[in-house]
């Protein structure tokens, strides 16, 4: 140890958030195209978000795995090779709100990657052999997911949280996937893969207006139509007994809680974000400092506000050692309850505020980060300029407002709690703290 204490250097004042140059155009077929310039590396990022609410679960999942499995002119291998030739790649995924196509390529490859994307959007053929191959692969990957505690805990939480809402079940069962036929994929594609309501986001080393021209020239002919499908609002969490899901032999318990939350456009949004950070939303939070850095119960506990189109939720997650399942649950309730009952300290609130503001800048400092943000925001009807307004809100929200948000949204009495673990070992300790329902 040295004799003289060294002083922590001050931070230089932060510049206000600066948005990259960007352009937007609505094509006549209904497709919205957003082009954002970030020329730091000679690449482009591509995202296409197509609304997909209420699409058949198993068919939607398999469609996302076979969208690039061939057209009239090209095979799976041709498509992949053509993309690779411009340093490119494309893949698709689904969730209960949207079909998302994600890719990137060398900057000079933008016209080509969009051409290939266009040919698939207009002419994906879902050939029988390829569909059969991908069907088996999807079934296998679902089997593997079902052996992973994080997946099983999430499934149980969603079921408990959402009941009969489409968000309740987000992974199809293997037998549902096995029943899907190519004709059904073609029908689903014809019904739902359309430009109306869809957003194409391009980020990269280009002039935004020229990128829009390229997108319009290539995708302007993608057939119009499609239908507008919206989900009913997702229910807010309905508290009940702690749901215990048995996983015999599990050496950890997967603790999950869901709490109510509000969408990004709600006046409480910034206050809730900060309240969540103070609770458990980053490393320097009360909960992480308590159950990891003080007690060593867990490695990576985290809490976040998850937004979907039909509703938002606070999700609290930790994998804790089996023998400390009861104590970890108790500390979690304690930290939620403490924040819901007493206002946060000035200093810890400022720290959370700086973290929220700083990480917004980090999030928009890469092509992929910007592409993700712009796509996610587009799904909520927002644009990148939301970042400026949100920053302002984070900077000015008061301690009282944060305390009020914590009381409203983070009260442990409002939590839905699920624990996946070895019931033989954890049922008694958990039942000492709360009513338990064993699944």
């Amino acid at each position: 140890m040295s004799e003289t204490k060294r002083a922590l250097p001050a931070l230089l004042p932060a510049a206000p958030i600066a948005l990259p140059s960007r352009s937007e155009r609505r094509l006549t077929n209904g497709l919205t195209v957003i082009a954002i310039r970030r020329p730091a590396v000679p690449l482009v990022e591509v995202r296409l978000r197509i609304p997909f609410a209420k699409a058949h679960l198993a068919r939607g999942a398999l469609l996302s795995q076979t969208l690039f499995s061939g057209t009239e002119e090209m095979s799976t291998v041709d498509i992949a090779a053509e993309l690779q030739a411009v340093g490119g790649g494309l893949s698709a995924s689904v969730d209960p709100d949207r079909l998302l196509i994600t890719g990137n390529s060398l900057a000079a490859g933008l016209p080509r990657i969009l051409e290939i994307l266009g040919s698939v959007l207009d002419g994906a053929a879902y050939p029988s052999d390829e569909v059969a191959t991908e069907r088996d692969r999807l079934v296998d990957s679902i089997q593997v997911a079902k052996s992973q505690p994080a997946h099983l805990a999430r499934e149980a939480l969603l079921r408990r949280l959402y009941g009969s809402h489409p968000y309740a079940v987000q992974t199809p069962e293997p037998e549902q996937v096995r029943a899907v036929r190519p004709a059904q994929l073609r029908a689903l594609h014809a019904e739902r893969v359309h430009p109306a309501g869809a957003t194409l986001v391009l980020v990269g080393d280009f002039q935004p207006k020229r990128a829009l021209d390229t997108a319009e020239a290539v995708l302007g002919a993608w057939n119009g139509g499609g239908k507008d499908v919206t989900l009913r609002p997702a229910p807010q969490p309905t508290p009940g007994p702690v749901l215990l899901v048995d996983r015999p032999g599990s050496v950890q318990s997967s603790l999950r809680m869901a709490l109510p939350a509000v969408p990004r456009t709600h006046p409480d949004h910034a206050a809730l974000q900060l309240a969540n950070l103070v609770f458990g939303g980053y490393f320097s939070s009360r909960w992480v400092e308590n159950i990891r850095e003080d007690k060593g119960y867990t490695y990576g506990p985290h809490s976040l506000v998850e937004h979907a189109v039909a509703g938002s939720t606070v999700l609290v997650s930790a994998e804790v050692a089996t023998e400390v399942t009861g104590p970890a649950l108790l500390e979690t309730w304690y930290e939620l309850g403490r924040l819901a009952s007493l206002p946060p300290g000035e200093e810890e609130l400022e720290q959370a505020r700086q973290y929220a503001l700083g990480t917004l800048k980090l999030g928009m400092s890469t092509q992929a980060g910007l592409a993700g943000l712009a796509t996610t925001y587009a799904g909520a009807g927002l644009r990148l300029d939301y970042l400026a307004a949100y920053s302002e809100h984070l900077a000015t929200v008061t301690r009282d407002e944060v305390a009020a948000a914590a009381a409203r949204y983070l009260a442990p009495a409002r939590a839905v709690t699920v624990i996946l673990g070895d019931a033989e070992k954890i049922e008694v300790p958990v039942a000492a703290l709360a009513e338990v329902e064993l699944e």
Binding site: P9, R38, L83, Q84, A108, T133, E319, E350, G369
Partner: protein
């Protein structure tokens, strides 16, 4: 498609105390990435102390000369930044990404722990518990935990540094002492054994002043001699299996020794490209054959180094292929088919067109890694640490693009069954 050349500025300095510094200014976003890399990793941990390099990494976050426990995390995050550290076979890194106004603070934090972490019994016991939970999450409580990066080295290698479990046994972790940690720090965490890299929104001259201010008085300590970890190549095939009680489906991974990534870079690079020729995407050799045609595997992956970082590993290392199989899948059939494909590449070669598209895709991946200031800082730090050549960051896409069809064939020809080490996962779920 022509692979674009980049000319990112990369500046190198060495302080009087031996600390090497690399700066990569890029003012395209108001953020910086700060990385400190120490030339010590899993291969250097002592026998009886498996997992110690990683446990020690955790201890570097537990306070230092001027910082209480928890202070490091709070100062980084309270400046709007994120942090982490990670332990690799040949190095350990510590890093932050922050808004650029926090540059001096980040330098202060890194310098403070370079002068000396607070190594206490209480912090050690706490972090042993945390690391055990980390191992449970990543290895013990999930299917395919540690496959193949912890499971294959003991099949392929015979010496402790290369073969042992880098996450560590609970027994070894629990028996670690504060004295062990002090000795490890004294030996390996010398500033002569470290590189500091900063990338992003910075001015080179101003940043050098700040670096000197904070790191200039870190006591000069030379790097310890680095042992030669080399082992002879395999002379006959090795194959082992283990039961994974959580795994629902079979899997197998194979590895072959490759030329030294540093000393024989020109001979090594074709293997990096070959791994992509074999496994990158639906148009790659093994995906087309095994996934799409034979349907004998559900996925295949190929890469160099047990941690999959071809430009951040020293020798001895390996080219790996790993396969996940459908229910009842036949691993021998899969290995035979892969051998056929390797032979076909060796004998019939690869067209310039096929190789060119793989190289274009590799360029995209390499460039994409460095779009983030942290990706750039980490890469130049390790390139400096291991090669004394951080400017290689600009050359890698081009050098990958210069690998020839003949080199790919020669590399494929060397991946023979007789030089192969394999580890098979016997699924035990539901049994």
């Amino acid at each position: 498609m022509k692979i674009p050349a980049t000319k990112y500025p990369v500046e190198r300095f060495t302080l009087d105390n031996g600390l090497r510094v690399v700066l990569a200014p890029d003012r395209s976003a108001p953020v910086i990435g700060v990385a400190v890399v120490y030339d010590v990793g899993i291969r250097s941990e002592p026998e009886g102390r498996t997992g110690f390099a990683h446990l020690f990494e955790h201890l570097m976050f537990q306070g230092s000369e001027n910082l209480e426990k928890l202070a490091h995390f709070r100062h980084v995050q309270g400046a709007g930044g994120t942090f982490n550290g990670s332990t690799h076979l040949d190095y350990t890194d510590y890093f932050e990404t922050l808004p650029s106004g926090a540059l001096e603070r980040a330098l202060f934090l890194e310098a403070d722990r370079m002068r000396g972490p607070r190594l206490t019994e209480e912090n050690l016991r706490n972090q042993v518990d945390v690391v055990k939970e980390e191992i449970r999450v990543n290895v013990l409580n999930r299917p395919y935990g540690g496959f193949p990066w912890l499971k294959l080295p003991p099949v392929m290698f015979d010496t402790f540094p290369n073969a042992h479990d880098g996450y560590g046994s609970f027994e070894d972790l629990e028996s670690a002492t504060v004295a062990d940690a002090e000795e490890f720090f004294a030996r390996y965490y010398a500033c002569g054994n470290a590189v500091l890299a900063v990338a992003g929104d910075l001015d080179v001259a101003e940043t050098m002043e700040l670096v000197k201010r904070h790191f200039g008085d870190v006591p000069a300590r030379p790097a310890p001699p680095r042992p030669d970890f080399d082992e002879p190549d395999l002379t006959q095939e090795r194959r082992e299996s283990y039961a994974d009680r959580l795994a629902p489906l079979p899997a197998i991974a194979s590895a072959w020794r490759v030329p030294d990534p540093i000393e024989a870079f020109t001979d090594y690079l074709p293997y990096v490209v070959l791994a992509e020729v074999l496994t990158d995407g639906e148009s790659s050799r093994l995906v087309e054959r095994l996934v799409l045609r034979d349907r004998t595997v559900t996925s295949v992956g190929g890469y160099i180094g047990f941690m999959g970082e071809p430009f951040e590993v020293r020798g001895p290392t390996a080219a790996l292929l790993q396969y996940h199989l459908p229910p009842g899948g036949d691993v021998d059939k899969v290995l035979r088919a892969a051998d056929e494909e390797l032979e076909r590449l060796a004998t019939d070669g690869i067209s310039a067109q096929e190789l060119g598209r793989v190289q274009a895709r590799m360029a995209t991946h390499l460039l994409r890694d460095t779009d983030a200031v942290l990706g750039r800082a980490l890469r130049i730090a390790v390139l400096e640490e291991q090669r004394g050549a951080p400017e290689l960051i600009n050359d890698l896409p081009r050098l990958v693009g210069e690998v020839t069809p003949a080199q790919i064939s020669a590399a494929a020809a060397s991946l023979t069954p007789g030089r192969r080490a394999s580890i098979e996962v016997i699924p035990g779920a539901g049994k």
